[in-house]
């Protein structure tokens, strides 16, 4: 084989290889370009995607922020909106700044009284006063409110029968007329300086100042019902000073008889009563054993000329045991003084008060003349909460409320013991009239002990039962004298169901 023959195929292969090598770079360059272009496209797409992503992110954030602002606006409007409340404290509507409020509250007492035999029933004229039976003792809606934060009002009518032992109660019991219990306006400048005008409780009696829904026995004591004023029309300035450790009050009123209530808006004389009270709780905030101690003294003073503002004195069972004869009038000064105290420590509660009234009276009956009569009353009441709640001057909040018809706690149970007396001046006998027809006779002293049991279902509902036994002293039976006066003793059992909110 010649060399040329051997080289021929090699040249051919080389030529092919050369050709191939010539065409390869052109193909590679085109791929590279395409790749670059693709990369560029990807980069641009990535950029656009990022921009889009960013735009979407911004849009979402904007929508969320707008929603947030709407929510803030709604929350603020809700915060500024008046609040309507219906709870165990009653019904109320209140402005968001709490400067304006209107409340509807209520108190209902339905009682049953059972006397120890018919012998203890009594009539005044033809009107039964103390008989076995049911009694709607208090049916009181209360409308109260706050205006501009510092001004307030309260209006409480009474839809129940009267005959609650007040001086003007005679004959009222069956009339069922609506009476005004409270109707007053307040200016509460600050804790130390408050001003009240209208019909209200004069700041005098300790138990009287306790709300009707918080009293521990079915009826208040002789101190409240037979000596000190109930409600009167006038003005009071009152407040708490010395870090709320001292309360003071002064007032100027039309004036009412002992234990009396001012039923009308018209005063029957130009003479007025001054009322005052100082009450201290020196250990408030101390945390010691004396923290719940409060004591003070209160009084009233008036100078009446020939008014009929003289009381009828009644037993807890509403039997009248002393009334002045019609020819007797209040004529001269009337001063009352009442030292008072309470003590609360854990389940124990003690309330004690004394009141004395010095009353100038005169009679137009020949030979009776005039006198200054000193009548007084006192009480001490001890209560104990069996279920462990803390006792207080205000209501009881059961630790485990009782619920009808479902598993629940027992509510709160409280037992109470009270002793009270009411003693009239010996000279008062001259001014009574035991001999006239249908005159009930009289006694010059009454002593009553009583026991009570209260069952608080919850803050708003409670059931009470009381047994009270009253002895009468220095009895003079009249021609129409009641059985209680003939028998010299009153025993009665009373039951109450209370709803208060």
């Amino acid at each position: 084989m010649s060399n040329s023959a051997r080289i021929g195929p090699l040249v051919g292969v080389l030529a092919l290889a050369g050709l191939a090598s010539l065409s390869l770079p052109a193909h590679a360059a085109s791929t590279q370009d395409e790749l670059e272009a693709l990369k560029q496209t990807v980069r641009e797409l990535q950029k656009r995607l990022e921009a889009l992503d960013q735009a979407v992110d911004q849009k979402v954030k904007i929508v969320e922020r707008k929603q947030e602002l709407v929510n803030e606006d709604v929350s603020k409007k809700l915060k500024d909106a008046p609040t309507v409340t219906a709870s165990n404290k009653g019904f109320s509507i209140r402005s968001s700044d709490k400067d304006f409020e209107f409340k509807l509250r209520g108190l209902a007492h339905v009682d049953y009284r059972a006397y120890d035999g018919d012998a203890n029933e009594q009539t005044t004229g033809n009107v039964p006063v103390a008989t076995d039976g049911f009694l709607a003792r208090r049916l009181r809606p209360t409308f109260e409110g706050t205006l501009f934060g510092k001004y307030g009002f309260r209006f409480t009518p009474e839809f129940a029968e009267s005959g609650d032992g007040g001086a003007a109660a005679s004959g009222d019991r069956r009339n069922n007329r609506v009476r005004v219990v409270d109707a007053y306006f307040d200016v509460n400048a600050n804790d130390a300086y408050k001003f009240r005008i209208g019909k209200h409780k004069p700041f005098v009696g300790l138990e009287r100042l306790q709300s009707g829904s918080d009293i521990k026995f079915i009826e208040r004591s002789y101190v409240s019902n037979n000596i000190l004023p109930n409600r009167d029309i006038g003005v009071s300035v009152h407040g708490d000073v010395l870090d709320k450790k001292l309360s003071y009050a002064v007032g100027y009123f039309n004036g009412v008889a002992d234990g009396g209530d001012n039923f009308t808006s018209v005063d029957d004389n130009t003479d007025k009563d001054f009322a005052w009270r100082l009450f201290s709780t020196p250990f408030t905030g101390s945390g010691g054993i004396l923290e719940g101690l409060g004591f003070g003294v209160a009084g009233t003073w008036a100078n009446d000329s020939n008014t009929n503002a003289l009381p009828r004195y009644r037993t807890p069972g509403q039997n009248q045991f002393f009334a002045y004869r019609s020819t007797t009038t209040a004529n001269g000064s009337r001063s009352r003084i009442s030292p008072q105290a309470y003590y609360y420590n854990g389940p124990l509660g003690v309330l004690a008060e004394y009141a004395q009234v010095k009353q100038d009276v005169s009679s137009s009956t020949a030979g009776v003349g005039s006198a200054e009569l000193k009548n007084d009353a006192w009480q001490i009441a001890v209560t104990w909460l069996l279920t462990g709640e803390d006792a207080s001057f205000k209501g009881v909040k059961p630790l485990q409320p009782f619920k009808f018809g479902e598993p629940s706690g027992w509510g709160a149970w409280e037992v109470g013991l009270r002793y009270q007396e009411n003693n009239l001046d010996r000279d008062a006998a001259r001014f009574a009239d035991p001999t006239a027809t249908n005159r009930p006779g009289f006694a010059l002293g009454v002593r009553t002990w009583g026991v009570g049991l209260s069952w608080y279902h919850n803050e708003n509902s409670k059931f009470l039962v009381n047994y009270e036994s009253t002895c009468l002293d220095d009895v003079t039976a009249g021609t129409g004298a009641s059985a209680v006066l003939r028998g010299d003793k009153e025993r009665f059992l009373s039951f109450r169901y209370q709803v208060a909110y």
Binding site: Q58, K61, L69, A189, N190, Y193, F195, V235, K272, N303
Partner: protein
Amino acid sequence: MQRKTAKFKALVAILGLAAAALASPARAETTLLNVSYDPTRELYTEYNAAFAKYWKEKSGEVVTVKQSHGGAAKQARAVIDGLQADVVTLALSYDIDELHAKGKLIPADWQKRLPNNSSPYTSTIVLLVRKGNPKNIKDWGDLAKPGTAVITPNPKTSGGARYNYLAAWGWALQQPGGNDKTAQDLLTKIYKNVPVLDSGARGSTTTFIERGIGDVLITWENEALLAVKELGPDKFDIVVPSLSVLAEPPVTVVDKVTNRRGTRKLAEAYLNYLYSDEGQDIAGKHFYRPTNEKVAKKYEKQFPKVKLFTVDETFGGWQKAQKTHFADGGLFDRIYGIR
């Protein structure tokens, strides 16, 4: 007769007590309410503590100052509607004028009662952008570019927002060929770029910083400096525009409230203390420009140099500016309504 006289005297005594009870709301109280605009929270928190200390040392009396903050116009409205402000420290005089015009709570010449037209400190409006200024914003004109999201509050409720608006308008007037029409065009474009209108300056700060919305926040200089200080210079840059507005937030005692509450003397002392060296120092610390030259010198380095115009010289005063631009049916309504 003697009895009647004694009774009459007693009645007079009771009436005296009752009258005193009624008059007693005028008894001095030791709380004050300062109703202020949105970004002054931190300033007055520190200032109130300093004043309480000062007042205790001076009078022995313990005083508590409460604060309320929000858009200046909203705050003024609240005071007119009964919010018991002893003092107001708002963003601009127009809103305080309203306390006289609509509430008769202060006299018409209230601004003459304290130095510097009752403005104890001043400020201005700047631009806060995200770090590195990605949208390359340098001046007011850049806010009108499409795709630039601008955050600013609602001028109807916020005093700061009104300054923002007027700063941009004033800049537009100063540009070659600038007039009211070019200014309105600029503002129209800027508000087209505003995605959210908060009711106050602090709300806009929240939108921009915390919610991460927008490219630029038009805001008080003190608010921008505070943001950079609080969040670090690695997150935001402050862009100082070539021209801005001099903001003069004024203060006043609310006469009717302080006279009724018996707090007038205390409220006056509270505002006077703002002009003291201590008060001015606290203002400077919180990035407000003190009016006291000595204190201003101490803080001058923290404030950028910026050419400023006043509302009085460019817009004829706040009353006119309000009527033209921000009243119902004014230019802002047209601008924002046609976005």
